[in-house]
């Protein structure tokens, strides 16, 4: 589903990604962990080209996405992204947040877009918040709306960048539940998170990133209980 070959990313002179090779199968749920500044977000953002890769190749569904011929907007419709700080549109209701892109990009009629939106609101458990503006939602609710918004474009892949890091602890669960449901439905997901519970429950594989490379990659139990690399061991000891 996703294949990354020798991906490099520089910000000016700073090399943030130093050669990433990775393959994500259809329906696989990949959890990315690693210290702050190790390049997790940059890696994720290269996958929908919110950051432009400096070198290397990225394929999604067999199509090379970092080539000049690709329609970047088409690509992004197929890869949904969820941000740490939600980035909901404050001037739109929950419903408006979800229907905006399908209506404006795909040209779906309002009634149909609303129907899709209500189904998604139902899925994330917020049907009663359809007409609420983001400023009146809790963090957990905002993030669930943000997930619904991304799903409304019917993406093939979902990217999550620390979706629960900005939440109060009591709201983390409700968001992870939605993500686990999504994983159960077979969505291909790449999730940057330090929620070990989620990784064990829903993750097929955990990648440990440090210093711009993937240091180790293994199923959750293996990586958490029996890390092979010294850097992984040190990181896990510090964090968990």
């Amino acid at each position: 589903m996703i294949r990354v070959e020798d991906l490099h990313k520089y910000f000016g002179d700073l090399e943030v990604l130093k050669g990433i090779d990775e393959t994500v199968e259809q329906g696989e749920v990949i959890v990315v962990v690693g210290p702050s500044g190790s390049g997790k977000s940059t890696f994720l953002r290269c996958l929908n080209r919110l950051e432009e890769p400096t070198a290397g190749r990225i394929f999604i569904d067999g199509q090379q996405i970092n080539s000049p011929e690709i329609d970047i907007n088409q690509l992004r419709q197929e890869t949904g992204m969820v941000f740490q700080h939600f980035n909901l549109f404050p001037h739109k209701t929950s419903l408006g947040n979800i229907t905006l892109a399908p209506m404006k990009i795909k040209g779906i009629a309002e009634e149909e877009a609303k129907q899709i939106a209500y189904d998604l609101l139902d899925k994330v458990g917020l049907k009663d918040k359809a007409d609420t503006y983001p400023s009146q939602l809790s963090g957990g609710q905002k993030q669930r709306i943000a997930i619904a918004r991304a799903l409304a474009m019917q993406p093939k892949v979902m990217l999550f960048d620390e979706p629960t890091s900005a939440l109060d602890p009591e709201m983390v669960g409700e968001v992870l539940d939605v993500m686990e449901d999504l994983a159960d439905e077979g969505m291909t997901m790449v999730v940057v998170t330090h929620e070990m519970g989620f990784a064990r429950e829903a993750g097929d594989r955990v990648l440990f990133m440090d210093g711009g490379v993937i240091v180790e990659s293994a199923p959750p139990e293996e990586l958490f209980n029996n890390p092979q690399e010294k850097r992984t061991q040190e990181f896990l000891k510090k964090v968990y």
Binding site: N73, Q77, G80, F83, H91, K104, I105, R149
Partner: protein, 224 residues
């Protein structure tokens, strides 16, 4: 002691000069309104160019804004009205006035639009783009609707300043409120009365404009 006779006389004087001043006020309103429209159109383009990715657009817009903000409006009007004829381009006073005020206002509006757009969190553009919106779509449906609310108060200030600055067009023979006042003055020498009346009329116009801006501001902020 109140001198009823004198007061009656002054009221009669005001009645005599008022039609001339109001005629000028209409011209002031017309010239300013057209310049405001031009300023909004031009300023939006300049502001968008200023935040675009194109280096070229950015520097043109920046140079434009710096030139018009860094030189006196009076000189800009002189160039348009008295200078251009040397190059064989002759503009009517009204056209030169609207053009001069509009070009000048565009620079200020451009700066306001730029800072309005920049005040919107970058995450908004990213979220819109991540859904598959093109840059223009993201601007139109996500960034600008939010920026517009922040832009209204400084824009209001700019247009109030523009209305007052429009008195400068009197020197390029536009018969606005200021020029009408001077014309009446040269005939009647009721100097104090005339200029106080002109000030009151200007004040009424800026007062109405201020209320209008406040009203729009309140209307736009309902969704927050």
């Amino acid at each position: 002691m109140l001198n009823i006779g004198l007061i009656m006389e002054k009221i009669a004087d005001i009645k005599a000069i008022l039609p001339f001043l109001l005629k000028g006020a209409v011209v002031t309103i017309k010239v300013t309104s057209l310049a405001v429209l031009m300023g909004i159109a031009l300023g939006t383009i300049l502001g968008l160019a200023r935040v675009s990715k194109s280096k070229w657009l950015k520097s043109i817009s920046k140079a434009y804004i710096e030139f018009f903000r860094g030189t006196p409006l009076l000189i800009q009007l002189f160039i348009l009205y008295f200078g251009l004829p040397n190059l064989g381009i002759k503009l009517s006073p009204y056209f030169a006035a609207v053009l001069g005020l509009g070009l000048n206002s565009g620079a200020y509006v451009g700066e306001i639009v730029r800072s309005g757009i920049n005040s919107i969190n970058k995450g908004q553009m990213e979220a819109a783009r991540s859904l598959g919106m093109s840059y223009p779509q993201a601007m139109r449906y996500v960034v600008l609707p939010q920026a517009i609310k922040r832009v209204i108060p400084p824009l209001g200030n700019e247009f109030i300043a523009l209305l007052k600055n429009s008195s400068l067009v009197s020197v390029i023979s536009v018969k606005d409120l200021t020029r009408q006042s001077r014309l009446v003055n040269s005939r009647t020498y009721q100097t104090f009365l005339i200029y106080i009346s002109a000030a009151v009329i200007y004040f009424c116009m800026t007062f109405v404009l201020t209320r209008l801006v406040n009203y729009v501001e309140r209307r736009l902020s309902v969704s927050d």
